[in-house]
């Protein structure tokens, strides 16, 4: 095994939402299955310090790591694929980088010097790329760069990668560029031009892609592979097809068929690895693809239009569904669409109900109505965070008869404050990083569902 870790960078071109996170996590899974100690980190080019204050419509779910950090949803994929725990160190943003450089400038660390993108910002990016080394003895560290090559915000990151590759020397790092091969039905073929341009864009910044992963809806012919190889400066084995998959969990298996792991190991001069065993993973994917029953579970929330905003809940259902050999059709129900009249119609065909986490007053009466329906009709119910609080309010109002019972978050003057804002939350006026998040101790009562299942 190598003494110092090897570095893999994953960049994206042509379009966003190509699935860099899934490709990174899949590669990490394959390398992990060969006995290597692998971790992944994500560098996001936006200027927010963390995604905690981003609207889910903008950026999907905010994934919370066990140390309570609000991070990018890709960290969820890393944890779910690899069964590793990530922390705040695994997610950096332009905001965090500038914040630390500016703080150092105020402290006088650069006294007398002009503080510039190069070298100060790029040095801070490079420092943060290596920061994770101190966490554990990693063989391979994968760094996913958010955004698309060519974006203004991405430049300092690409420049830092160029310098980093130079610093660590040949065979110690490589760049994987993920692109899209659009299929034009009028021409009846896959087009490589956007890929060529995007690789060229990367080269203008002095970075050569070592491996090109092509997202595509059709199989790539050998002829097309040769063409991409020729125009993009890579050998033909380094052109990897990433065809649309039925489930994201199939991607590691597809990448294995394409020998992505082998190409990576060759380029990084790593030869001593064990034979990979993915039999558990394969059986999991088989269960997803061949369910014995189908279930409909309602997901009540206020951001249900956008799948990504409840990503972790949906994925948890995929895992639990496979375990139960069931396909779970998660039916999104907007909490504001539910009232006394619509509730029966909306929920009666469901096999279970989940009320999602959330904030604020919007839609809470709809949530309470649906919880009442679940309680009175013996429909399995799981409430998370605000979902639990609403279940307590519903119970207080309709079973204990405390009319107008409420949470002080929603109604500060309620007569029956069954849920109260924590004291240290009452005066919160700054946004971001103020919630009680992360792992906490919990004492569990005997003979309860909690005892059996946690």
């Amino acid at each position: 095994m190598s003494k110092t870790p090897k570095y893999i960078f994953v960049t994206g071109g042509v379009s966003s939402s190509l699935g860099k996170g899934i490709i990174s996590a899949s590669l990490a899974k394959l390398l992990q299955s060969k006995g290597l100690n692998v971790t992944i980190q994500k560098f996001d080019p936006y200027i927010n310090i963390d995604p905690g204050t981003l609207n889910p419509y903008e950026h999907g779910e905010c994934y919370v790591t066990s140390d309570g950090t609000e991070t990018d949803l890709d960290l969820g994929h890393y944890e779910r694929f690899l069964s590793i725990k990530t922390t705040k160190i695994n997610n950096t943003t332009t905001g965090k980088i500038y914040q630390s450089v500016i703080n150092r400038e105020r402290k006088g660390d650069f006294l007398g010097k002009t503080v510039q993108v190069i070298p100060h910002i790029t040095n801070e990016i490079k420092r943060r790329i290596k920061l994770i080394e101190s966490e554990d003895k990693y063989d391979i560290i994968i760094t996913e760069l958010g955004g698309t090559v060519g974006d203004i915000e991405s430049y300092p990151f690409i420049e830092a990668v160029r310098q980093f590759k130079w610093d660590v020397g040949e065979g110690n790092s490589l760049v994987i560029h993920l692109t899209l091969l659009p299929f034009l039905s009028a021409a009846g073929e896959l087009k490589t031009k956007p890929t060529q341009h995007s690789v060229k864009k990367l080269m203008e910044s002095g970075v050569n892609a070592d491996i090109i992963v092509c997202r595509t809806e059709k199989t790539i012919t050998d002829e097309l592979r040769s063409k991409i190889a020729l125009f993009c400066n890579v050998d033909v084995n380094s052109v990897i097809e990433s065809i649309d998959a039925k489930t994201i969990y199939e991607v590691p298996l597809l990448m294995q068929n394409e020998k992505l792991d082998q190409v990576v190991l060759n380029k990084l001069n790593i030869s001593k690895v064990k034979k990979s065993d993915l039999s558990d993973w394969k059986s999991f994917v088989n269960k997803i693809k061949n369910p014995k029953t189908k279930l409909k579970i309602g997901l009540i929330g206020k951001y249900v239009e956008l799948q990504d905003s409840y990503k972790s809940i949906l994925e948890s259902f995929v895992h639990a569904g496979a375990e139960n050999e069931s396909k779970i059709d998660v039916v999104p129900v907007h909490s504001e669409d539910i009232n006394e009249k619509t509730v029966k119609n909306k929920l009666s065909s469901l096999n279970g109900l989940l009320v999602a986490p959330g904030f604020g007053e919007r839609g809470i009466e709809g949530k309470i109505q649906s919880i009442r329906f679940a309680r009175e009709n013996n429909l399995p119910f799981l409430g998370i965070c605000l979902g639990m609080q609403m279940a307590v309010i519903e119970f207080a109002r309709n079973v204990v008869n405390l009319q107008n019972a409420n949470s002080t978050e929603m109604d500060i003057s309620t007569k029956h404050p069954v849920i109260t804002l924590m004291e240290n939350q009452i005066d919160v006026d700054q946004k971001g990083g103020t919630m009680r998040l992360g792992s906490w101790k919990c004492k569990i009562e005997k003979n309860t569902l909690a005892k059996k299942n946690i």
């Binding site: 895992h319 279970g352 799981l382 101790k441 009562e445």
Partner: protein, 63 residues
């Protein structure tokens, strides 16, 4: 809390340091659980979260 307990709600998980309620249940119902923590951030392919597994199992019984 006493009134709610008497009416059949069980506070099955408490934070020992702060006394905050982390888990509630209604035993008089086939499967009714509320959690203040986030099980969805703990579920992995290798270890699906037991609460989700048990919830889906309960949903299966409604067929």
């Amino acid at each position: 809390m006493d009134k709610l307990k008497k009416a059949g709600m069980v506070f099955s998980g408490l934070n020992p340091e702060t006394g905050l309620v982390e888990i509630i249940e209604i035993p008089n119902h086939d499967w009714f659980v509320g959690v203040q923590f986030h099980p969805e951030y703990q579920s992995t392919v290798k270890n699906p979260h037991p609460l989700f597994v048990s919830f889906v199992e309960a949903c299966k019984k409604t067929i």
